[in-house]
């Protein structure tokens, strides 16, 4: 991921918010609200999605003194939204929808000219078991380091790496099988 000197990092924004700068919170909201809302709306109705989104950022406000620099805001936000949805018994799990959305968007961004390749990647990833799919999508499509993936999925770092490795092996088999069929 490219970084620009005039764009503040999540850590800097959280530090500024803790120091009382409300605009830093707004910047975090604008940075993460849209993809989260998009994912929520794929499985929830608009009212519930809006409610969970706002509650997620309210929770971010309540958790602000827990924040440790380097922990990463993005896994926090998605985990909070997932937990809120579970706690409040909203129907439909948005997590898979979020991953599918990100997979589609990221694949499209990487290979804009090759629709078949995008479809092939999406189809192959969709065939993986859920746990492997989540780890691969969060690591490759979301760009999260394995430490943050582990936090997000609630597993140990080694377990996450094993899942990713198994996923890669499975993906290779799927592509080889598809090549052989073609």
């Amino acid at each position: 991921m490219l970084s620009f000197p005039f764009v503040r990092t999540d850590d800097e924004l959280m530090a500024a918010y803790l120091a009382g700068e409300t605009a830093a919170f707004d910047e975090l909201f604008r940075r993460y609200a849209l993809p989260l809302l998009r994912a929520l709306r794929r499985r929830l109705n608009a009212e519930d999605a809006n409610d969970i989104l706002q509650q997620t950022f309210l929770q971010l406000h309540r958790c602000r003194f827990d924040y440790l620099p380097g922990a990463g805001i993005r896994p926090w936000i998605y985990t909070i939204a997932f937990n809120l949805q579970r706690r409040q018994a909203r129907r439909g799990h948005f997590e898979d929808a979020f991953i599918e959305e990100e997979a589609a968007t990221s694949a499209g961004a990487s290979w804009p000219a090759d629709g078949a390749a995008i479809q092939s990647v999406r189809s192959a990833v969709a065939q993986l078991p859920r746990e492997q799919r989540r780890v691969i999508a969060l690591h490759w499509f979301e760009g999260l380091p394995f430490e943050q993936v582990a936090t997000t999925v609630g597993a140990s770092l080694s377990a996450v790496k094993v899942r990713a490795h198994r996923g890669y092996v499975a993906l290779r088999k799927i592509f080889e099988r598809d090549d052989a069929d073609a």
């Binding site: 709306r41 406000h61 958790c63 602000r64 985990t79």
Partner: protein
């Protein structure tokens, strides 16, 4: 599941996002008072404050409502059972007040907190040097246990950052309250016959979970 669809004509996604941001600010602004302050404390502090409050309640029970055979009850057995309950209670409280940016082990703790009182109740009664004075005791176990459990639910709810509805969270909170009720009753009730423990003490968790389900709103938007 209804589809959200595109925003209404004339409202761009950016406008909609700003509207949601304004709504979020309103929620944050409304999040004031003692409860809001408690819920914003770092997780370690919230956990510590809950444990401190519960320790105070147990100390009160021990000082004012102590079981009449406390001095003659086998100390090792009391210490072991009490320690196991205490560890399980601390772990489940930790789960109840865990921050929402972490993944929980709700199911595991439901089983742990539900099974422990049943296991303790199934143990044979302690061998004592003299008979426990049981006449006039044991009739108040259910109200005392329900009261202790209810107070735990209030304390945990005060420190919990988000509302919880649904069967799983209700069972976890109810079972944890039941565990605390069992701890208090261990200090209060001299009857340790398995039948009494099984039918009154151990089932308090289920009753407290049901009470929580009745009292908690179906789907609070925010609290």
């Amino acid at each position: 599941m209804p589809e959200a669809g595109p925003p209404p004509p004339g409202i761009s996604p950016a406008d909609e996002l700003e509207k949601l941001l304004t709504g979020t600010h309103e929620r944050i602004k409304a999040d004031r008072g003692v409860l809001a302050w408690l819920r914003c404390r770092p997780t370690g502090q919230r956990f510590g404050m809950v444990l401190l409050a519960l320790a105070g309640l147990m100390a009160l029970t021990l000082a004012r409502f102590q079981r009449p055979d406390f001095a003659s009850y086998p100390a090792v057995r009391m210490a072991l059972t009490f320690s196991v309950y205490l560890v399980a209670l601390a772990l489940s409280i930790r789960e109840l007040v865990r921050p929402l940016y972490t993944r929980g082990r709700t199911e595991l703790f439901i089983v742990l907190t539900g099974a422990l009182p049943l296991l303790v109740a199934a143990l044979p009664a302690a061998a004592r040097l003299e008979d426990a004075p049981t006449i006039g005791h044991g009739h108040d176990c259910i109200p005392v246990g329900m009261l202790a459990g209810f107070v735990l639910m209030l304390i945990v709810r005060a420190f919990d950052r988000a509302p919880r509805v649904g069967t799983g969270p209700a069972l976890l909170l109810g079972n944890t309250a039941g565990l605390f009720a069992n701890l208090v009753l261990m200090l209060h009730c001299p009857i340790d016959r398995p039948a009494h423990l099984m039918l009154t003490h151990a089932l308090l968790g289920v009753a407290l979970a049901a009470l929580f389900k009745v009292l908690e709103p179906a789907r609070p938007s925010v609290s």
